[in-house]
Symmetry: C2
Subunit: 361 residues, 2 copies
């Protein structure tokens, strides 16, 4: 790629993943400002951006560390100097557990558990490596993914962690992923409260059994202002707020700071074709939107082509023109790219490698 910093946006070759830096910085500041003084920490989920410099920007704005979905992402963050990382997932198997305890030598790692056998493996590996691995018991608060059931089952796992050498029981994680995209705010609030009540009831049970519950982690971008102020929640995991997408735009008031720059490669009588398809913008939550062109509709995404129709029946674009698409799902779209092109005032200010891209292992 022949791009030089300082060139205008329209000279960036396509398809390219574009950050509007002013809007992104506004989103980072808005989340920090909302949470400040509310007694809850922000530990942003970096599965969204997968990029060290962005994690460091979030920390500079007040975040206490980061949340990762996968060990491979955590490794990237550790290499960039991040000091406090929650892996909000179960880490299973001897190879991964060895990577995990080695990583814990270099940073403060917290990992989720939901099964006795896993606790035993983690304990043996941590003890052997000589690290004290911090552990959250993951509780199923209604998403029905990972997580032990609330109440006694969670208490029993907590006890098991407390009894395990090399492990420190640090609290609970309960992610209400089934709630975060509910558009109706009353329903979203009601469902988030239900989820957090089951988590807090479990917390009380564990405390009554004599164990300290230092961390209670939950919350996504869609519930930052609900779960984030629920009594007893100590940290939230919101990630998408930094960039937003069409799905979250219906839910919470942050700005869409991420687009795909794409070139018109063909103009036909009833359609134009751009060079961004499913390999450049993920389709699973719906078609992207064309920024600043409300008359244009993305009708189809093929692998490397987007087919765009016009509600007015006419097109004012020519072969070679560039337009921007707003993705319906930022996290999976970003995972298609090796780098961001970061723009301010219409010119290219930075190109940032997405070091965590594809690090699902």
């Amino acid at each position: 790629m022949s791009e030089r910093l300082g060139i205008p946006l329209k000279e960036v070759d396509t398809p390219a993943l574009i950050i509007d830096l002013d809007l992104m910085e506004k989103n980072i500041a808005k989340m920090s400002n909302f949470l400040r003084g509310k007694g809850v920490n922000l530990r942003p989920h970096v599965k969204t951006h997968k990029t060290p410099i962005l994690a460091h920007k979030q920390i500079a704005a007040g975040a206490i560390g980061v949340t990762c979905a996968k060990l491979g992402e955590a490794e990237v963050m550790v290499e960039s100097g991040i000091k406090d990382i929650l892996i909000a997932n179960e880490i299973v198997g001897s190879q991964k557990i060895e990577r995990l305890v080695n990583l814990a030598k270099h940073t403060n790692i917290i990992v989720a558990v939901d099964h006795e056998a896993n606790i035993k493996e983690l304990s043996m590996a941590a003890e052997k490596k000589g690290v004290m691995l911090r552990v959250l018991v993951e509780v199923n608060v209604g998403m029905n993914r990972c997580g032990v059931e609330p109440g006694e089952p969670a208490l029993n796992l907590a006890k098991r962690v407390v009894q395990s050498k090399g492990l420190k029981f640090s609290g609970l994680m309960g992610y209400e992923g089934h709630v975060v995209e509910i558009v109706d705010v009353e329903e979203r609030t009601r469902e988030a409260h239900l989820a957090m009540k089951s988590l807090m009831d479990t917390k009380s049970l564990i405390e009554r059994a004599g164990f300290s519950v230092e961390i209670v982690s939950g919350g996504g971008t869609g519930t930052y202002d609900i779960t984030g102020v629920y009594p007893g929640v100590t940290e939230i995991q919101a990630g998408s707020y930094i960039f937003m997408d069409l799905t979250y735009r219906k839910v919470v008031p942050f700005d869409c700071a991420l687009t795909i720059l794409t070139t018109v490669i063909s103009v036909q009588s009833d359609r134009i074709i751009v060079d961004a398809g499913m390999k450049s913008v993920s389709p699973e939550l719906g078609m992207p939107e064309v920024k600043n062109h409300s008359e244009l509709i993305v009708a189809e995404l093929h692998e490397e082509h987007g087919i765009i129709r016009s509600t007015s029946g006419t097109f004012h674009l020519m072969v070679g023109d560039k337009i921007e698409l707003i993705p319906s799902h930022c996290c999976t779209t970003i995972n298609l790219y090796d780098r961001y092109h970061a723009i301010r005032n219409g010119t290219l200010e930075a190109i940032w490698p997405i070091a965590g891209r594809g690090k699902s292992f």
Copy 2:
């Protein structure tokens, strides 16, 4: 990653993109054997595997070169020594066209066109660089994506190419992408014949105008045995046959040679959770299937989790067990990974980087 060649499949860390080498080699041989002696060339589409060593295996089995969807893929193939490349797409904009003509200095590149302005730009750049760029006129044979309409419009573009310095008119491309996944063989045959008839009528028109049509390119995995034997078609672009997926398995008799190895990270009363989600297996054509476990259904794909239910209501898998998923769409799934793990007789024989991954630009 700590993997050593020779380890058993079950020791490969997950999620991992797995090739069954015996099945893949069988697919390559089967396509070559079918086309041999039929007077049509195979120019396999490498958008599927995006990997030089696999392209070279296809060429060793008789393919005349490769087809690419994007210039970035073509660059990867040229770097690997591939000598004959069709970019089955319009290459638009001065930056890309400069890359294209530079690439044409090092290999035999053929590119598609569907617009006069693009022909003019290509011509100027090719002449300036001192290359003779081979050009196919892309004809819309019913997919309604790129491509000029058949008949006179295609003839007019062909004339324009013939008149342009630096360009050599080499023939026509008409990809019947709207046909290749039709399951009913009679309907698929009828529709493919319709598409190819419009292409051949256009070819005749151009020949009657006095121009030679050396190449007529079309055909995908779903129509290899229809378009591949249609009189006048000189080469077909099939790509997915090398690996197959659930979608193409309903259409043509090749073997599914590609899977995702994934680990069970949580077992709950009514579900198990694996470490492969939408960032490890693409969801847009449907859920993946669990190989060798007909009782298991992938119910949901989250970003980094797959949720699996059992039709029998019980699970015989434990935390740490590994299973394989067969993707519904091989091309977009492969584009999520940086490397293949290639397996033969149950052991790891090679790890191959996917050099073209993400090269959509």
